[in-house]
Amino acid sequence: MAESHTPHPDLPPPVSTIGVPGWLRRNLFSSPLNIALTILAAYLLYIAIPPLLRWVFWDAHWRGDSRADCPADGGACWVFIRVHFEQFMYGFYPDEQRWRVKTALAVLILSAAPLFIRSVPGKIKMRLGLGLLAVYPVIAFVLFKGGVLGLPAVDTSKWGGLLLTLVIAGVGMTAALPLGVLLALGRRSQLPAIQTLCVTFIEFWRGVPLITVLFMSSVMLPLFLPAGVSFDKLLRALIGITLFQAAYMAEVVRGGLQAIPKGQIEAAAALGLGYWKTMGLIVLPQALKLVIPGIVNTFIALFKDTSLVLIIGLFDLMNIVHNATTNPDWLGFSTEGYVFTATVYWLFCFSMSRYSQSLEKRLHTGHKR
């Protein structure tokens, strides 16, 4: 009898690990638990996304300029935003003066653009950055406030909307960083009195809620000053926000200072550098670079915190939108208002955090784990 060799039947081909099916298998259906989770998540998305898209886009009302153009049929009324858009951007800033705000914005974008171009050498960037920091606030202030150079004065109580939000955030950022650096240096100081003062200051501001600070600065401050002395409400809110954020900034910077090895300071001392030179030329440049993500996070927090000025009656972006939703002619569009405001804030905060991440990667000169 002749036994013929029968080959073992072919094994099935190995599970594909490339292409779409492979990707799906690896990332979505790798285990029973994962399959269940994927199905659950997909189901939730299926429930949530289509109605959302319908509300935002397909059923929404875009055209028109009055309430009548928004029948209540389950779609968003973007007409509400379009009609109020200018107001949301500038607040009560007079119509015929708005070119000043636009000019200031254009100046900022044009002059700051080189900072974001990688091929520009660092030294030029540094000089430009510092110069901008010193000069731009003056330009912006003159343009916004007016009263000189033939520009009619626009009172700060007329500033509003996104303009005001950006002014508060911008001033807060530029003022809080240097103050925070000083406080951090003070906290790390060898001098007990200075150290105690700084620690007390930092812990006090970090311990109290911002809205009590704003309340104090907006309605109580004149009680602490000599009778008759008072200054602009916006300025007072700015001071409150700056001091508050400076305390947080100080803690971030302190983290950086602690990470600098003592040898650096000793080497500087051996070279005969005094305290300020040691700090300014040796320690701070290294420390600040280390904590850039922390600094940007503080900026993001500050940007979001600007919305609290609503509580003291300044018409920032959020308050002006909130105000518009209570306009008797446009009642019932709170959701649209909040969604719009949220989008604006989100765009700013998200791009700042992305920028910080890319900066962090670029500046990472050391060994990455």
């Binding site: 109290v208 009680l223 000053l225 009778a227 993001i300 959701t335 949220a342 989100w346 998200f350």
Partner: protein
């Protein structure tokens, strides 16, 4: 010719570092004290000139207004001091619940962010990026004025088996009514807790000595639930429920979660959880991958690896920033004022301040309370941090 030996010139006294240090400090102190005195004098002079009452006597006078939610008995004839306690407890309530929920959600999302499941980790990312980049106040408004406003009127409430009701006035839950004999159940629970502590010690020792494991968790659960339930049954169910009922305008009876609290809690929980999730993710990623591999090579499965190997090590990195989030959450609860939840800032630094006109005293008390809470949380978390910190040998 010899060079003239130059004797080193003694530097002038103000260039001596020590003298400088002392001078610097004296200047700072004098400036601070002077500034403080200046403020104090101005305030005194202003108050005197305006004839505004000062001092803390107002705390014992009648308040005369109602508060929507109080954890301790309160009526219009209570004192302003009582209002302070009611408001403080409301702040603490929302903070404690917020911390619990935010931690829970934050850990889940943080772990989900690292999930191998692409969809889950993307969803977690979207959640984190959406919630932490939008101002909290806006989120509170959104929940309160846009979402919770869609709830039905009391007469059209959603009802859960006629026991719990959800409407625009809040979530109404049946309230437990403790009958005599319920003390026994509580006592049984206490005994069970003590027993569990002993049991876990014994199990731990046995495992150390013999390597045998004991199902501690299951046994503990059985004890904690079983013993009180047994006593509850023996004592003849000394607990009744008071169901909310629609009477006139509103539901009466039962427990109610008011929408002001619900939206505040929802907003601060979801907001803080987004930050906690990022902290948890960073903490877990800070644990070297070798730990996971070592654990797998010992045959420990992935959920146990996470629970017993990764998380304990990650906690060291997580705790300090987590403390900051807890502090922020507590302070952020003060945004309650924007939607009328009677917390410390809203009811005490707002209403009481206005009814009495004693702004300085009310704000000072409020700030002192927040400072104390902040310092207490830091203290507790520092203690805990010391426990989990790496013991260097």
């Amino acid at each position: 010719m010899t060079e003239p030996i130059s004797t080193p010139v003694k530097p002038p006294i103000w260039n001596n570092p020590q003298v400088r240090a002392i001078m610097f400090q004296i200047i700072a102190l004098v400036a601070t004290v002077t500034f403080g005195l200046y403020i104090f004098q101005n305030t005194q002079a202003n108050l005197r000139q305006l004839g505004i009452a000062s001092g803390f006597d107002f705390l014992s006078s009648h308040s005369g207004f109602g508060i929507v939610q109080s954890l301790i008995p309160y009526s219009e004839s209570s004192s302003y001091g009582r209002v302070f306690w009611v408001a403080l407890l409301n702040t603490l309530l929302v903070s404690v619940l917020g911390v619990l929920f935010a931690t829970l959600i934050g850990f889940i999302v943080g772990i989900a962010r690292l999930s191998k499941n692409w969809l889950i980790s993307r969803l977690a990312l979207v959640y984190i990026e959406a919630f932490r980049n939008i101002p909290l106040l806006l989120q509170i408004f959104f929940w309160y004025f846009a979402v919770l406003r869609a709830m039905p009127a009391p007469r059209q409430s959603f009802s859960l088996g006629e026991a719990a009701f959800l409407n625009i006035r809040g979530l109404y839950l049946p309230a437990p009514q403790f009958q005599p004999g319920f003390g026994g159940v509580l006592a049984a629970f206490g005994i069970a807790v003590v027993l569990v502590i002993f049991l876990s010690r014994w199990a731990h020792q046995r495992q150390m000595a013999t390597g045998q494991q004991f199902p501690t968790l299951r046994a503990a659960l059985a004890l904690l639930l079983g013993l009180p339930l047994l006593i509850f049954w023996l004592a003849g169910s000394p607990l009744t429920w008071q169901y909310p009922e629609l009477q006139g305008f509103n539901f009466r009876g039962g427990w109610v979660v008011i929408p002001e609290m619900a939206s505040l809690l929802l907003a601060i929980t979801l907001y803080t959880a987004a930050f906690i999730a990022e902290i948890v993710r960073a903490g877990i990623q800070a644990v070297s991958h070798g730990q996971t591999e070592a654990s797998f090579s010992l045959g420990i499965n992935s959920s146990k690896t996470l629970r017993l190997i990764i998380l304990p090590q990650a906690l060291r990195v997580i705790i300090p920033p987590l403390t900051n989030q807890y502090l922020n959450l507590t302070k952020n609860s003060s945004l309650a004022a924007a939607i009328g939840y009677p917390d410390l800032v809203s009811a005490f630094a707002g209403t009481v301040l206005n009814q009495t006109g004693q702004a300085i005293e009310c704000i000072a008390i409020t700030m002192a309370v927040y400072l104390t809470i902040s310092l207490l949380i830091s203290l507790l978390m520092n203690l805990y941090n010391r426990q989990v910190a790496l013991v260097e040998r």
